[in-house]
Symmetry: C2
Subunit: 223 residues, 2 copies
């Protein structure tokens, strides 16, 4: 072993992280193709090219790996959203920008996009990752008198339900351009922005999504 | 046989219709409790209290009965909506009234409500039954200059995704009153109605849903 190589323990850690990521990525792929029902452990391990027993070194069940795959991929995207919209001052721009980024990401990374559609808008991982962020951004708009929302939690639920529908429509109609802007305009109107201004805000130039340290992505399921 | 009794053939027809309805109702119940995955024929026939083989006299598979249960229950509700909002002149009132009726129905008839949530907003039956109605009502609002929608199909998809989310939220938070009005207000804003007017329209007194001939309901799965 030369000095350049990591010590055995950290090489082991890295190998474990890679196997875990392979299992998660295989799960995303299978769910994106077939939905969450009737997936069995051996399909995931075959897709990941590891022994069936290996699965249980990392996850306790199909439900467990589904939950982790959903939570980690969304949390990672949620953190990227936070960085990407943190410079924006207008709550309407933050709301529009965040929603557009998720739609764009889902349409560009179609495995994740179909995974997102197939787990459904009511999946707990959606509420635990994007939920608090959406609530925060909507509440800020209400507090600043920018949005008109009676029930922030219902608005979040409606926006996520609509998000899932918009992503599915974008994936099945790839010829339709600007799905992100059309969806954002509808969601801006939903929170009380007038149509002409909603069209304007939804069409703002959108900075690239700050997806974070590429070096860190090896173990992340969403890449 | 007295003259008051129906002839044998129509009694047979009636018995068949009842068995079919029992199978459909059992399917609604199982899906409402557990979602669509991992349901098997024997569970449906057990719930319906008929022999397992009987199932195949009426349906070819689980997918078949799910499709029929979704389509028939929604088509029946859709026809009731048409009758109930046909007197309304303002497209905003039609849109709001239809959406409020579906939410109210789903929260009152909870087996159907959970069935609706569990099959998902992207289910083809939703698009084939409520889809054309929603598209018609939104297009009328656009044509009359009442709504501001760039993409009617996307607005329909968003409204259905949001509907599923709103119903689930209403079912899991029964203490929240007026879910139908809050949802309708958000959906009126989404199509471009200003917040103050949206609040007003969403709170209009809503006539009872005209659920049709009660005599005809015996064979209908939604009752």
């Amino acid at each position: 072993m030369t000095e350049k190589q990591p010590p055995t323990s950290s090489r082991q850690e890295l190998r474990k992280a890679r196997t875990r990521a392979k299992l998660l990525r295989s799960t995303l792929k299978l769910v994106s193709e077939r939905g969450t029902s009737a997936i069995v452990v051996s399909e995931i391990t075959e897709e990941a090219d590891v022994g069936t027993g290996t699965f249980y070194n990392y996850f306790s069940s199909i439900d467990d790996i589904l939950e982790v795959a959903a939570h980690e991929s969304m949390e990672y995207l949620g953190a990227a959203l936070d960085r990407s919209v943190s410079q924006m001052e207008d709550p309407a721009e933050v709301w529009s920008g965040s929603l557009r980024h998720v739609v764009r990401y889902a349409l560009a990374e179609q495995v994740w996009g179909w995974f997102f559609v197939n787990i459904g808008a009511a999946h707990p991982a959606l509420m635990s990752t994007f939920g608090p962020r959406a609530r925060r951004d909507l509440q800020r708009g209400v507090d600043e008198g920018r949005f008109s929302i009676d029930d922030v939690d219902l608005a979040v639920a409606c926006a996520f339900g609509a998000l899932s529908a918009a992503v599915e429509r974008g994936l099945t109609n790839p010829e339709t351009a600007d799905t992100d802007q059309r969806y954002a305009k509808a969601m801006l109107q939903m929170v009380g922005i007038a149509p002409s201004e909603a069209a304007q805000v939804a069409a703002y130039p959108l900075p690239e999504l700050d997806i974070g340290d590429k070096e860190m992505l090896a173990a992340k399921p969403i890449i």
